[in-house]
Amino acid sequence: MATIASSETDQATAKSGRSFRVPLGLVSYLQATPLFLILGFFFLLPIAMIGVVSFWDYDFAGLYPAFLTTNYTDTLGSWVTWKTYLNTLKFTVIVWGLTLFIGFWVAYFLAFHIRRTSTQMILFLVCTVPFMTSNIIRMISWIPVLGRNGLVNSTLIELGLIPKPIEWLLYSDFAVVLAMVHLYTLFMVTPIFNTLMRIDRSLFEAARDAGASGWQVLWNVVIPLAKPGMAIGSIFVVTLVMADFSTVQVMSGGQSASIALMMKNQMSLLQYPAAAANAVVLLVVVLLMVAAILRIVDIRKEL
């Protein structure tokens, strides 16, 4: 803790020229060291290791250091991989569009239509709390609602709207998208809410005085200023959906596929180098997507 303490005064120390204290630059390094060590060992090293292992040879008994490109040619040469990527991208685009739409209007309502700060905070918490509970439980909770004898089907039958249960409600792509929207919308709401709260309200009056209609204010003032929040939310949602295997597995009942699910199956067969090659390709795709979104916003400035 002594290092923190000295950091608070070393500016003054440096000025007065008494330099027997820990120098300024060193303090920052000491404070950053734990983060660097943890990320180094549990993040950077494993990623580098995946890169290395993706060129290795393997059989049922173990991994053998080598320099083979077959793991990549097998992955990229298979039409299953391409189909799976297409399927994952399909989920990403649909979920991204839905969460952006829902997230924006929920944030907009909270930011501009709730007048009391305390009400605003309570409603925001109401939206936040479910996101701090287990993802799997929240997935499972759709089963009694969407199942063949679930709430939706039995209600519709009782009302005489449908003769027999709708089959595609659960264990389908529809269920996957619904569950993902359910799981990930908050990642849109929070950053957008944040940027909306920082908009200077007098801009609206200025726009109105200048003769702008409600839609024009929304389109030309609110949305451009909310873009950074939308970008941060998009990064969360896109990376989460691209990496998802559990929602796809549970909600599609094994009938749909995603890249991460494919990797998980390879891992359970101990085909680590194949999974690693897949991981490298997925990583490159995800990072390219993030880089594309980051062209819109400088996150370091937005925090």
Binding site: A5, E8, T9, G25, Y29, Q31, A32, L35, I38, L39, F41, F42, F43, L44, L45, P46, I47, M49, I50, W105, V106, Y108, F109, L110, H113, R115, L125, V129, M132, T133, S134, N135, I136, I137, R138, M139, I140, S141, W142, I143, P144, V145, G147, G150, L151, H182, T185, G214, T239, M242, S246, V250, M263, K264, M267, Y272, A275, A279, L283, L287
Partner: protein
Amino acid sequence: MNHEKRSLEFYVLAIFFTIFVLFLYGPLSAIVILSFQGPDGGLTFPLNGVSLHWFANLFEKQAVGDFGASFQRSLILGIMVMIVTVVVSLLAGLAFRRRFRGSTFLFYATVASLVVPSIIISLGIGVVFQQGGLAPAWYSSAFGAHLTWTLPFGVLIMFAVFNRFSPAYEEAARDLGATSWQTFRHVVLPMIAPSLIGVGLFGFTLSYDEFARTLMTSGTYNTLPLEIYGMTTNVTTPVLYALGTVTTLFSFTIILLALAIMTMLGRRQAKKS
């Protein structure tokens, strides 16, 4: 503006918001209700009597694997992750107040840790442990895997907090003759305390519910989310819902507790100034 009449836009959005909240809580309340299903009841409505049968079932080992032990592991792991996340994020937040060589690299490494797919980190750590001849376990490899998920949140929150933190308070304290430790302990720490509780809450809940990163790193013994994930495929009784109700209730308690502490700290701070 405050006395303006509510517009049509307000009512439309209020309905939209209400539907969103129902969408969030509806399914959750369905499993809470169904966990009180009678002993002969199934996985769907209607309720076949009301009982605590499935909650009792939860504590019989043959019904749901070893629920008690996996809960204990997840709890201890969550607390470990929480403590390390708070301390390391605070230190890193202080470090980032100044630019230092490599600060940009460290910042982007932190963000990348949030963005890289969980399953890739899980695979990577699994392979590192395997090749290093180390046995993966929930308290070593899974602990590290959780930190790569909670630390970015913690660091980004502290980064945001210190971005808005005026150095004037510290300068004033120093002018009044406070030592650097006193300045930190009596000026900086009380002001950022609610945020630190928030970071702790994030650290605990994210770890307690995490399973994509735990998948390849937990070793022999499962954490609670892994146990539940396994159950989704082979348990076909409402005991699954009972487990869901219990863990969700536990999460709610933790969240409320953290919020209560945050409000209390905030009030005390307001009173002082």
